[in-house]
Amino acid sequence: MSKSNGNRPARIGFYVCHCGHNISGTVDVAAVARYAQALPHVVVSREYKYMCSDPGQERIAQDIREHALNRIVVASCSPLLHEHTFRTAVEKGGLNPFFFQMVNIRENVSWVNESPEEATEKAMDLARAAVHRVAFHKALEPKRVPILPDVLVVGGGIAGIHAALTLANAGRKVVLVEREPTIGGHMAMFDKTFPTLDCAACILTPKMSQVKNHPNITLWTYSEVSKVEGYVGNYTITVRRKPRYISEKLCVGCMECIEACIYKEGKFPDEFNAGLSRRKPIYIPFPQATPQVVVIDPQTCIEFKTGKCKKSCLEKCDRDAIDFSQKEVVEEIRVGTVILATGYKTFDAGRLPHYGYGKYDNVYTSLEVERLVNASGPTGGELILRDGRRPKTVGIIHCVGSRDRNTNRWCSRTCCMYSLKLAHLLKEHTDAEVYNFYIDIRAAGKSYEEFYDKLLEENVHFIRGRVAEVTDWTARPSEEGKLVIRVEDTMIGVVRRIPVDMVVLAVGMEPQFDAQEVRRLFNISCSTEGFFLERHPKLAPVDTFTDGVFIAGACQGPKDIPDSVAQAGAAASQALVLIDSGSIELEPNTAYLVEEDCSGCKSCLTICPYHAISHDEARKKASINEALCKGCGTCTATCPSGAIRQNLFEDEEIYSEIRGLLTPMPAEAQGGESC
């Protein structure tokens, strides 16, 4: 066995981090430092409170200069967190940054192991492995790729809108892709927003028209991303634009055609009004829809179903905007970065049959109530129930499909506040008795607690208890004709039956129905609940593990409007950081071929999913296109004669790591003072 970097003997600097008490609380850091000091080629071994701090990094750079170190090992947290930090420190010291190896003794040791003896032994094993490995490291040049300046934003809810506008205002070209015929998302359906009670439409619609009119934004509604190729800085995105059967260029949104439709009345559930009203086959989702373009639903339009409609809509349109022959258009764009703001879906209340949704008319979801109290909603803002009555008592049930291991474990974060808001609005509209049934009131936001306070003073009932059932089974004449809510009032310790006219189910937030497909499309991960996974919950909340793909809004987890907007801004600025730097350094972990070692056996050709390996017929050898290689190393593991290697993960490096891990510990860790 020969060493791959034979010029100078290794002089290794070893550093172990306390991370406050995070590591040193379990691992005997001093013992690890002493142990490392005695390992072959270790010249300097130190422990320090916070290696990632400036003095910690500076120490490394200084030691490299003073002790002529040529290899550095840092034992601290996960490389996914600070590898880059320490590589930079190594570079500052004048070494190639890849003469560095990181040992994860926090996430992999101190945080998961309890026994100090075992944790310390494990930390020593890992340290030894890294010391063995780093000796084989090579100097590498990171690959730089340019970043295309255009950005794709997926999802036209408030998060997508805000992200798109932020980027467009900064002078970047943005393509905003929205699945529905209009942008606006859930927020457009809301009546008022908590805690300020601004009208949602009043604050949202100006932003929607800005999107439409912004010279830097290309808005593609009724469209979906169908393919994603490439890598950070250089994505090729395929977008399928569904036909609206109306020319977006020609339609001015006068809606004469809708008037003219042979259906005199709406007949089909109106998606925008949560099914509480009916629309025609030709419709515009809501008056401020953006773009203000009519759409024809081929599922319900007579012309599409039978081909025998007299097409009165066509006659009515004097701009000839209606085109029944419109076809789907497939567009391909090239962007450098992507922001996903695909939002959420509400919990399906039908999954909890004991709450009677779908069975009792007067049980509503919160989203339905938003429409019901809205002036532009199905009842013009009058609170008229499905059975035509006006409610005198209303029960709002919190945590429907949230905080429940039988459905969703997480807290949906917004329901407490929107339930308070709805309680206020319902009281305002009907002067009914309003009961809130809650487990805990979570009002942790600016001015949220004050809003709760206000509601208490409005004489809204707050009953702490999770509702067991909503039933029409009556036990007293006073309950006749009502829905009875059965709950334990846990403050008093007694079970109560509360008859109400209307039940509002505060449904929780769930991952968007196609979150898994979108995740695969963009090669990112989901967390346990199915929301998109951020790179780091605190330090990189809008980044993903795929460079150049950012997430914003409720697709990352339940979020209210202020948080979604804040995150959208953060995602936009993260994209800008990339764009403005012009290029990005890629991890140089690509595969390469040593041509004279290659026999041309072709075993590698089918292995590469990116078609980065081809067979050079003339030379009868393989050939790797490093630009296409993404660095998985599968070909390296496959090559039967060892002709393909992988930077950063060379065979020798991994063998030495294995050997280092398993080399028996000396019975007694050698002495020797650590610096």
Binding site: A30, V112, N113, E117, T120, C526, K630, A637, I654, A667
Partner: protein, 173 residues
């Protein structure tokens, strides 16, 4: 701060299996980090080697680990369909299926070598798999191939000299 004195005393402790794990950067290594962040305590017997993809795990690495004294080898990759590199995990799966057969024929029990799909969000699964694997390997007892090689080689002369030479040969230098 803990103070264990100059050395960590170990011989008094019962035998602990040593399990080498090859975890892919994107799913399983991230899940192991998540297990850490979530403070999910588990058996300390696992030593993780990070690779970019489960497809990078050369069967030679597995044999090397056993030959160097591992009692078990665990591979972790993304779930089928979820590989960050599209299909590296399928390559891993195929090799593992064949390697398991070969290891079985070479007298290494199936429970000593395992491939698990663990996504980035499955910190809990990391704990479960590590605990389960540790328990299984523990019940199989030590594999101790290096000791076995030494025992086997005792029959040929000048063992000391021989071993010395081998170690010298492999020294990092």
């Amino acid at each position: 701060m803990l103070n264990h004195g100059a050395g960590v005393s170990r011989p008094s402790r019962e035998w602990q299996p040593r399990i080498v794990a090859f975890f892919c950067n994107w799913c399983t290594y991230t899940a192991a980090d998540l297990a850490g962040v979530s403070r999910l305590k588990h058996a300390s017997n696992i030593r993780i080697i990070r690779v970019m993809c489960s497809g990078r795990v050369d069967p030679q690495f597995v044999l090397e680990a056993f030959a160097r004294g591992a009692d078990g080898v665990l591979m972790g990759g993304c779930h089928p369909g979820d590989c960050h590199y599209m299909e590296g995990n399928y390559k891993a799966l195929r090799r593992v299926r064949l390697l398991r057969r070969m290891l079985r024929d070479l007298g290494i029990e199936e429970d000593r070598f395992r491939l698990e799909w663990i996504s980035a969000s499955e910190g809990e699964k990391v704990r479960a798999v590590v605990n389960d694997m540790t328990a299984r390997v523990r019940s199989l007892g030590p594999l101790k191939l290096p000791e076995k090689f030494r025992d086997w080689d005792r029959e040929i002369g000048e063992l000391e000299e021989k071993v010395g030479k081998m170690e010298e040969k492999e020294h990092v230098g």
